[in-house]
């Protein structure tokens, strides 16, 4: 389940490592391997990963 508190839009194009217990973002960035390493360094070896994918090519965006 997605946490309402995380504003995913600000992380578009990045990977999030989320603490499975607290649901806090442990690390984030555009390189998944570095995000995983940063999470380990902060003591969370097995985070939940959330790839914040860009809206799809079929998506409609309002321009005005």
């Amino acid at each position: 389940m997605h946490t309402k508190e995380i504003n995913y839009e600000q992380y578009v194009g990045e990977y999030l490592a989320i603490d499975p217990d607290t649901r806090e973002i442990i690390a984030h960035g555009k390189d998944l391997l570095k995000v995983a390493e940063a999470s380990k360094r902060k003591g969370v070896d097995h985070p939940i990963f959330h790839p914040v994918q860009e809206p799809g090519v079929h998506r409609v965006q309002v321009v005005r």
């Binding site: 389940m1 997605h2 578009v12 555009k30 939940i48 790839p51 994918q53 799809g56 965006q61």
Partner: protein, 143 residues
């Protein structure tokens, strides 16, 4: 049957989409991946190759490796391998294309996901449901 709500991580137009949280099981570790897009427009499951590296799935090119091209990703070449996935207490082997791509990709496509479940989308209710077909229920496997 397992039922899910559409979710809307982005508030653009308030449009909700079907997302799922799965675990990709590799020799090194089982990697929980949140927010995979259930994408009937994707031929296969498609993920960045870094997911394979983290979970320990070997993508070393071998003579019998299946290489594919992905037109929607600048004709990038990917490697097609079978991957074990877990969703709630169901698991299945899904053909998956891994590609080197600079942006996050986690797509559950027709081959690799839709062939493991019968899927019903109810857009007007913002829900979708899965009936396992080639996925196997495994007791006590819940993450």
């Amino acid at each position: 049957m397992i039922k899910f709500n559409y979710s809307s991580p982005f508030e653009l137009l308030g449009a909700s989409v079907p997302h799922l949280d799965v675990a990709m099981r590799g020799p090194s570790m089982s990697v929980p991946i949140e927010g995979c897009l259930v994408d009937s427009g994707a031929d296969h499951n498609i993920f960045n190759d870094d997911w394979a590296k983290i979970s320990g799935i070997d993508l070393t090119p071998t003579p019998d490796a299946i290489l594919v091209r992905l037109p929607q990703f600048d004709n990038k070449q990917g490697v097609l391998v079978k991957v074990k996935y877990v969703l709630d207490n169901y698991e299945w082997m899904g053909d998956t294309v891994f590609i080197d791509w600079p942006k996050p990709i986690a797509l559950l496509g027709r081959i690799g996901f839709f062939d493991a479940f019968n899927i019903t989308f109810k857009q007007n209710n913002n829900t979708f449901s899965l009936i396992p077909t080639n996925a196997v229920e495994v007791d006590g496997l819940k993450r």
